[in-house]
């Protein structure tokens, strides 16, 4: 065992852990930041959008020094059918200043963000995996790592080890996630000269664009994405694990399918795949959130299911929860109360924060994502919308009234009748609005 004692041990140097360590170290606490990767972000992956607000609260104007890719000025949504797509997009120059969000690479960003925590005094311990918690009299008093003499004691343990949280399970904050509470995402980073990216996506030097893809996931609940980085593209898809199990398909088969789509193929053509990664995304949302604190511990970020799947927001919620955990750590050290009662303060703070509000709003969504509902929403419906528009827009001598009817019938067909179409719409609206 290391002789040294810490005030706080933070497990995991992702956005949540780094934010927690930074906040606690700035508050004068003695912090250890443990990460199993060779360096923070070494093995981490995400789709690629980083938001301004929560990070800015910790590091004003961070975008001037942080390694970011492109400033997102345009967001597109594509409803895919076999060979076509209905596209919607919004572009606004106001997103440039102040920036709203950026595309990014976790291997660079996490490293930079953790370095800020190090600069504030957090002691980095990398290439070290936490294997267990030290529990005495029902209280968490430290962690066990996979190194020799690997125990480390602390007043508090902040759990930020991501979606597959070992400590979360160990402390029974939650169980193994159910297959319909997580989706499995795969992603490729595809190298392409920056001028080509700018041409193909209609962008200026530092501008970026995101495309969310609905449909062509073999009827499984899931979303695809194609984001522009400086000289690479991020193309990926995440699908509910329960669906993958049900259909016995591998996620990369879905990704390969997407790559063949004519609209996507055109954008990635000539690119060279540089990286390939897979990762789980928490999808359980509000109802799956575990208890957030106990005797000697707090849990944040993905480890606590804090992801807003509809808006692909996760890093921001992770940073927010990390900051709240760090602030709580500072506050309870003043009173030296590390009990679950003292740490209830963190749970309360999360409740009052955007994390709770947003996740609560979408709490019904989870229902829509399960089979057979999902098959309609992610399979038949995108196809039907495309077919409907094809009917409607084909100029073939038929009167417009008939065209409209035929188009509408396509949609009814999917929903199972006119009333069902209305019902489906209502259900969707409710899911998105709590």
């Amino acid at each position: 065992m290391a002789d040294e004692r810490f005030d706080v041990v933070v497990v995991g140097a992702g956005p949540a852990g780094a934010a927690a360590a930074l906040t606690a170290a700035r508050g004068g606490l003695k912090v250890a930041l443990i990460e199993r990767g060779e360096y923070p972000g070494a093995k981490n992956t995400f789709g690629g959008v980083l938001y301004r607000k929560q990070i800015e609260q910790l590091i004003p104007e961070f975008w001037k020094s942080a390694p970011l890719e492109r400033t997102v000025v345009e967001q597109r949504l594509w409803l895919l059918a076999k060979e076509s797509a209905v596209t919607v997009s919004y572009r606004d120059d106001r997103f440039n200043d102040p920036p709203n969000c950026w595309t990014g690479q976790r291997s660079k960003f996490d490293q930079w963000f953790a370095a800020q925590a190090e600069a504030a005094g957090a002691v980095p311990i990398y290439e070290t995996a936490v294997t267990d918690a030290i529990i005495e009299d029902g209280r968490v008093v430290g962690v066990v790592t996979d190194r020799d003499d690997g125990e480390l004691r602390a007043n508090l343990v902040i759990i930020a080890d991501g979606v597959n949280s070992l400590l979360g399970k160990r402390l029974r904050a939650h169980r193994e996630w159910k297959p319909d509470q997580v989706s499995l995402a795969v992603k490729e980073v595809i190298a392409l000269p920056r001028e080509k990216i700018q041409d193909r996506f209609n962008l200026d030097k530092s501008e970026g664009c995101t495309i969310e893809l609905v449909g062509e996931t073999m009827g499984m609940a899931g979303l695809g994405f194609l984001y522009t980085n400086t000289d690479t593209l991020s193309l990926g898809v995440g699908v509910m694990v329960s669906d993958l199990k049900r259909l016995r398909v591998k996620p990369y088969e879905v990704l390969n399918g997407l790559k063949q789509h004519p609209m996507i193929q055109r954008l990635i053509e000539g690119g060279e795949v540089k990286e390939y990664a897979g990762h789980l995304i928490p999808e359980g949302g509000y109802t799956a959130m575990p208890s957030l604190s106990g005797d000697g511990w707090m849990i944040c970020g993905d480890a606590a299911q804090m992801v807003n799947a509809v808006h692909r927001e996760g890093t921001n919620l992770a940073v927010e929860s990390g900051r709240l955990a760090g602030e709580t750590a500072v506050a309870v050290h003043e009173r030296e109360d590390f009990s679950s009662a003292g740490l209830q303060r963190y749970t309360d703070a999360v409740r009052k924060s955007i994390i709770h509000k947003d996740l609560k709003k979408y709490k019904g969504l989870h229902g829509l994502l399960s089979f057979p509902e999902s098959e309609k929403l992610f399979g038949q419906l995108p196809q039907a919308v495309n077919d409907a528009l094809f009917e409607f827009l084909s100029v073939d001598g038929e009167p417009k009234r008939d065209k409209q009817k035929q188009a509408f019938r396509k949609l009814e067909g999917v929903a199972g009748g006119r009333m069902d179409l209305v019902r489906m719409a209502l259900k969707g609206w409710r899911a998105m609005n709590g």
Binding site: M1, A2, D3, E4, A32, V123, P124, I125, T128, T145, R147, D148, D149, G150, E151, L152
Partner: protein
């Protein structure tokens, strides 16, 4: 006993690519690692330290970012890490490198006591010469044992040691006496993993930095690019060998016969002595 280990940070060679347009190396973003062989030198020094007690000083000449490599050695149990770093050292070939490292070893001896053993790697993955080790030994007139795969015995009192050298055609058992420089091959040992207290020490450790100003007697005409007699006059990527492949077809027996016939028709007949 005072042991110095020379380590070098090198670009992770499997990640280096060639820019197809400019034919230059794309080193950007290539992660740096400690030269593979050198970690075996560190391990052997630490084993001697564990067994007999010794002070282990790790020295590297390189850019400021090489402090990461030294911290890694500290986490394993080395006592001090010295970064010999100065713009004036840049561009050194093996002759200039051995001069600076030899000077640093003298300074380490002044600072922490006479140096009995020096470990270096068999070779680096970027320089790939294996000349720096022998160069250092020659500069400071130490015994030199290269390609050591086992240290059979050390007598810390007399300084006598017996080692096994790994050669192309066999193993040589050699006896010598300190002070000695040993270059190591991977068969020597399996490097350890740092303990948690080691990681904590390394996280807080700041390597010692020596610049040109820290060496009183340094001859500045013998360091860096200026002190390097070898000049890289050009680099190029060899043209992929242009071959017109002869695809042999027919039954198994036919292709086998054709291939043998064809090969016998080449100069292989002579060079391989197929009379």
């Amino acid at each position: 006993m005072h042991i110095v280990v020379c380590i070098k940070q090198v670009p992770d060679s499997k990640e280096i690519k060639i820019d197809p347009k400019t034919n230059t190396l794309m080193r950007q973003g290539v992660p740096a690692v400690v030269n593979y062989y050198d970690m075996h030198g560190v391990e052997e020094a630490l084993r001697i330290k564990d067994k007999y007690g010794a002070r282990v000083t790790v020295i590297t000449m390189g850019p400021p970012s090489a402090d990461k490599a030294l911290k890694q050695c500290i986490s394993l149990g080395a006592d001090e890490g010295v970064l010999v770093s100065d713009r004036a050292f840049a561009g050194a070939d093996t002759l200039a490198t051995s001069y600076v490292l030899a000077s640093a070893i003298y300074k380490a001896a002044d600072t922490w006591g006479p140096v009995d053993m020096i470990f270096a790697g068999k070779q680096t993955s970027d320089g790939d010469t294996g000349q720096v080790g022998p160069g250092i030994a020659c500069r400071i007139d130490y015994e030199q044992l290269t390609y050591v795969q086992q240290i059979e015995d050390i007598n810390p009192d007399t300084g006598e040691l017996i080692v096994h050298r790994h050669l192309e055609d066999g193993v040589e058992r050699v006896k010598t006496r300190t002070p000695v420089l040993i270059t190591v091959v991977t068969e020597l040992n399996t490097p350890r993993r740092a303990s948690l207290p080691g990681m904590l020490r390394a996280a807080r450790y700041t390597p010692i930095v020596w610049t040109t100003n820290d060496f009183e007697e340094l001859d500045r005409s013998k360091i860096g690019l200026r002190g390097s007699p070898t000049i890289v006059s050009k680099t190029w990527v060899p043209e992929p060998k242009h071959v017109s492949t002869d695809m042999l077809t027919g039954t198994g027996n036919e292709v086998a016969a054709t291939l043998v016939e064809n090969l016998f028709g080449t100069e292989l007949k002579h060079s391989l002595g197929w009379a």
